[in-house]
């Protein structure tokens, strides 16, 4: 009797038959059950975001049963005695009720808030993983763009969510949001008046944010997440380089039961961890902040972490306002509001297409790059992190000043310098590190790794024995791919005709970018080839732009391999 020889309960087999007779599901489920999921820790990061979203939906539904999205004023007579008799909005009073008069309400509220912070953090880390390994490349550009859309919507969803309780802290944040809206040229005041139903704060903003927060944005998020997962499923996962991994296969474990069990376990771990945080680490104690008043503020007011970059941008900006034909252009607000996020998110959205343009590489990529093997990408990523990080930290400049006992203005000035210099330094240093690691890889491949065994030669000399790397490691090292070198500016073919792609401003820019992308440490001593030792890298469907003039490239970069 084999393992698979057992009775399936009639309830299950009957249902399966019933459903299949009507929906033709057996075929689909059979594919689903055998769906392969590569086993790499970094592939769990996106799942954190997914499960956090599920937890947000669950806890959010609970909260909506008790929350009153109204700005009507009431006098509080609930269980939190310190606010007894205070006039406040119904939104704030009902949040107090959730916290103090609904059993489990405080716990669920705090899980919801922690889950939102984790959702955004997981999105960012997942996107960094995708960026640094080049997993956004063809054919996955659309999923990359969906990810950026998810992050942008998540920002708005979070802002509206934490503003709902109408407490002092979030009210101040909302006032800042309104002040920024007012600063938008031409339509700003109209946008602000239409969103708030008149002057700030009015009585409309909480119910409006509520419906946007619980229906509109979650609906769009859900649709985008569904599309994201569908595309991932359809296009199949990328995989890290390794033995037996080729551009035309996926290695891993099947969905049923392996990934199902692991995914389930991961969900429980995330939910459990969020619950632990909610139990022991208080977040957003709105009862301490009090109801919103436009004349009050507390120092060290910080928004949730994902808004930190906007907060820091506002703080770092020197005063700048110009009068344009009798109209006010409030650049001290507009630039910090629009520029950093445009640079980071817009840059991220354009990057895959820029990279294709600069490298001329239009083939599909199912094997990820190790970050060191794409020095320009990795360096640009680190520069972006530095840029984001400086602005983010500046968002807490008052807290930093207080903790480090450094004058506040010094920190702001340091940030003003660092926000420009930091990314440049990060780019240069990262690129050097990447190339250094490539050298080390080449050493290992050519001469083996240092085994730690010291041997004395007959003539008395001591040497360290180098051993060849194992097959798995060799497969990883040899998976390196380098973009083809396009002809540089002024390159001519044997007849003296300049290469067409290098002409004009755009052509020169492209050649310049291409030279940076093609810089590499060849993994073979003679500088030829880059490790295609018949390990299955036949790439078909490649529409590699054949712009390189023959013989003009210093590095052949395995072009014959890329082209079909």
């Amino acid at each position: 009797m084999s393992d698979t020889d057992f009775d399936v309960p009639k309830a299950l087999s009957g249902t399966a038959s019933w459903v299949d007779d009507r929906f033709h599901t057996a075929r689909g489920f059979r594919v689903l059950m055998r769906k392969v999921f590569p086993d790499h820790w970094s592939f769990l990061l996106g799942e954190i975001a997914l499960w956090s979203f599920v937890i947000l939906l669950l806890t959010g539904t609970f909260l909506s049963l008790f929350f009153t999205p109204s700005m009507s004023e009431v006098t509080y007579h609930g269980s939190y005695m310190k606010l007894n008799g205070i006039r406040m909005s119904e939104a704030y009073a009902s949040t107090l009720r959730i916290s103090f008069d609904v059993r489990g309400g405080l716990l669920i509220r705090q899980i919801h808030h922690w889950a939102a912070d984790l959702f955004m953090a997981a999105l960012v880390i997942h996107m960094l993983r995708v960026f640094f390994t080049g997993a956004y490349r063809k054919p996955r550009e659309v999923n990359w763009l969906i990810g950026i859309g998810l992050f942008s919507l998540g920002l708005l969803e979070g802002l509206f969510g934490y503003s709902l309780p109408d407490d002092q802290l979030s009210g101040a944040g909302l006032r800042i949001f309104e002040g920024v809206l007012q600063g938008i040229p031409i339509v700003g005041t109209y946008l602000a008046y239409f969103l708030f139903g008149g002057p700030f704060p009015g009585h409309d903003i909480v119910p409006r944010m509520y419906i946007i927060h619980v229906l509109l944005i979650p609906g769009i998020l859900l649709a985008l997440i569904t599309a994201h997962l569908f595309f991932m499923f359809h296009q199949k996962h990328t995989q890290m380089p390794g033995k037996g991994n080729t551009e035309r296969n996926v290695n891993g474990q099947p969905f049923y039961p392996y990934f199902m069990a692991k995914g389930g376990a991961w969900f429980f771990f995330i939910f459990g961890t969020l619950t632990l945080l909610a139990t022991f680490a208080t977040i957003n104690p709105i009862w301490l902040y009090g109801p919103y008043s436009p004349v009050a503020i507390s120092s060290a007011s910080q928004p949730d972490w994902y808004m930190g970059i906007l907060e820091g941008s506002l703080r770092i900006m020197p005063a700048w306002e110009i009068n344009f034909l009798g109209h006010t252009l409030s650049l001290s607000v507009l630039i910090p509001f629009a520029l950093p996020l445009t640079i980071v998110l817009g840059g991220a959205a354009l990057w895959p297409f820029f990279e294709q343009w600069a490298t001329g590489d239009k083939s599909w990529h199912n094997i990820n790059d190790r970050p060191r093997n794409a020095p320009v990408r990795t360096a640009v990523g680190m520069a972006a992190i530095t840029f984001y990080g400086v602005l983010w930290a500046e968002g807490a400049n008052d807290v930093i000043a207080d903790k480090l006992q450094v004058p506040l203005y010094t920190i702001t000035w340091a940030a003003r310098v660092l926000v420009i210099l930091g990314p440049i330094l990060a780019y240069v240093i990262t690129k050097r590190i990447c190339l250094g690691l490539q050298r080390k890889d080449r050493e290992e491949l050519l001469h083996g790794y240092e085994s730690g065994v010291i041997r004395q030669l007959p003539d008395g000399e001591f040497i360290e024995v180098h051993k060849p790397v194992n097959e798995e490691k060799r497969a990883v090292l040899e998976a390196k791919k380098v973009p083809a070198m396009l002809p540089g500016p002024g390159t001519e073919d044997p007849n003296g005709v300049p290469a067409p792609a290098s002409r004009g401003m755009l052509g020169k820019a492209r050649a310049f970018a291409n030279r940076a992308f093609a810089e590499t440490i060849p993994i073979e001593a003679d500088g030829h080839g880059n490790g295609h030792h018949g390990n299955g890298h036949e790439v078909t469907g490649g529409e590699h732009e054949a712009v390189g003039a023959p013989g003009s490239a210093a590095l052949p970069a395995g072009k014959g391999d890329e082209e079909s």
Partner: protein, 369 residues
């Protein structure tokens, strides 16, 4: 399929009689214990399944048996713990009340502890299960070109052309253009419908509720104040306009700070914006000056005042204003000084406004000029 055991046929009370020439009723899904594994594994449309293998020792090795037995016990212990913790959660919900801070904290602690314990032990159990009880299976899936093959592309091209031709869309520009014309206004409809979300701003951002003779009330007590009652140099208080003490919409623009200086400290130069007077010593009373409390950056209340340096600081983005010279900006992103409220005393000696602010308070906007 033919080697499947004939069971009850399809669902339903009686298997239908077989009509000659029709296929036999199919056996129930998952119903047979004799499903050949290999049959089930036949590739579906190129779905290669790869080889399966169990790594390491043979499954009947005593070490393996011992190991899996232990793993099984641990998994079962985890799931049992989850059960107990889950029961604890329900017990904590039923047994621990709320309605006071202490009780809420206690309830939160026990609910959170039991819930996280239940969730984490379920996760841990599942993880150990998959790691140590399930055989280690590695499968390979082939990738297929995402691009459709040329035959499909050509067929698509052909059907599209045929369908478009049949629709007459290209041939009859009158229909095409009037269709587009017809839908155009409807595209604008959603935007038109949003118009009543709020009133037009008009000039409302330029004005506050301050008017000649309106008394300055101390925020909190809501009492009027005389210069003599506000005599300690270096202090700052928040002022609200009489009649609007609790009106949030009004206070968002009209909140004021009052600062008292020692004689000789205050030097507000007479300043104009165009022909409008926007700052002067004449609007102060007994070395007391009134500035708008609303930061000219993005509207936070400027709540911090440093006596020794006479700096007013906005805690949100650290715009810093020099209080002695008309709240001029000395650091940070604020583009304008805090507007000065024209102030005097009335016949009873209370501080009152001479007029509204002479320039818009709060954040800049396009129409500010």
């Amino acid at each position: 399929m033919s080697d499947m055991e004939e069971t009850e046929g399809t669902e339903g009370p009686v298997a239908p009689h077989r009509v000659i020439g029709t296929p036999p009723p199919s056996p129930r899904l998952l119903g047979s214990t004799a499903v050949a594994e290999e049959d089930g594994e036949a590739p579906v449309a190129g779905e290669a399944t790869g080889e399966e293998h169990i790594e390491g020792l043979p499954p009947d090795d005593p070490r393996v048996i011992e190991h899996t037995k232990r793993a099984e016990r641990i998994v079962a212990a985890c799931f049992t713990l989850a059960f107990l913790a889950g029961c604890g959660f329900v017990a904590a919900y039923v047994g621990l009340g709320v309605h006071s801070v202490d009780k809420v904290l206690r309830s939160n602690l026990w609910l959170g502890l039991t819930l996280s314990l239940a969730l984490l032990s379920l996760g841990l159990g599942a993880l150990i299960w998959v790691r140590h009880l399930m055989p280690d299976v590695e499968t390979t899936e082939e990738r297929h070109d995402l691009r459709s093959d040329d035959k499909d592309r050509q067929a698509f091209d052909q059907y599209f052309r045929q369908g478009t031709a049949n629709s007459q869309f290209v041939k009859r520009p009158l229909v095409r253009r009037t269709l587009m014309l017809g839908t155009l206004p409807l595209l604008a409809a959603p935007i038109v419908l949003l118009r009543d979300l709020g009133p037009q701003p008009g000039t409302s951002l330029r004005h506050t509720v301050w008017s000649p003779g309106r008394r300055l009330l101390v925020q909190g007590t809501n009492q009027p104040i005389t210069p003599a009652q506000f005599s300690a140099p270096g202090s700052m208080i928040t002022i609200v306009p009489e009649g609007y003490e609790d009106d949030q919409d009004a206070l968002t623009k009209a909140a004021v700070i009052l600062i008292k200086f020692r004689p000789g400290e205050l030097h507000i130069p007479t300043r104009y914006a165009g022909s409008t007077l926007i700052g002067t010593m004449n609007w102060t009373v007994d070395n007391i000056v009134a500035y708008s409390k609303i930061c000219t950056h993005v509207g936070c209340p400027v709540a911090l005042y440093e006596q020794t340096t006479h700096h007013i600081l906005c805690p949100c983005h650290q715009s810093t204003f020099e209080a002695t010279t008309g709240a001029t900006v000395i650091f940070g992103p604020a583009p304008h000084p805090l507007p000065q409220l024209p102030m005097t005393t009335n016949s009873e000696g209370f501080l009152v406004a001479r007029s509204d602010f002479t320039q818009p308070v709060g954040p800049s906007f396009w129409e500010r000029g």
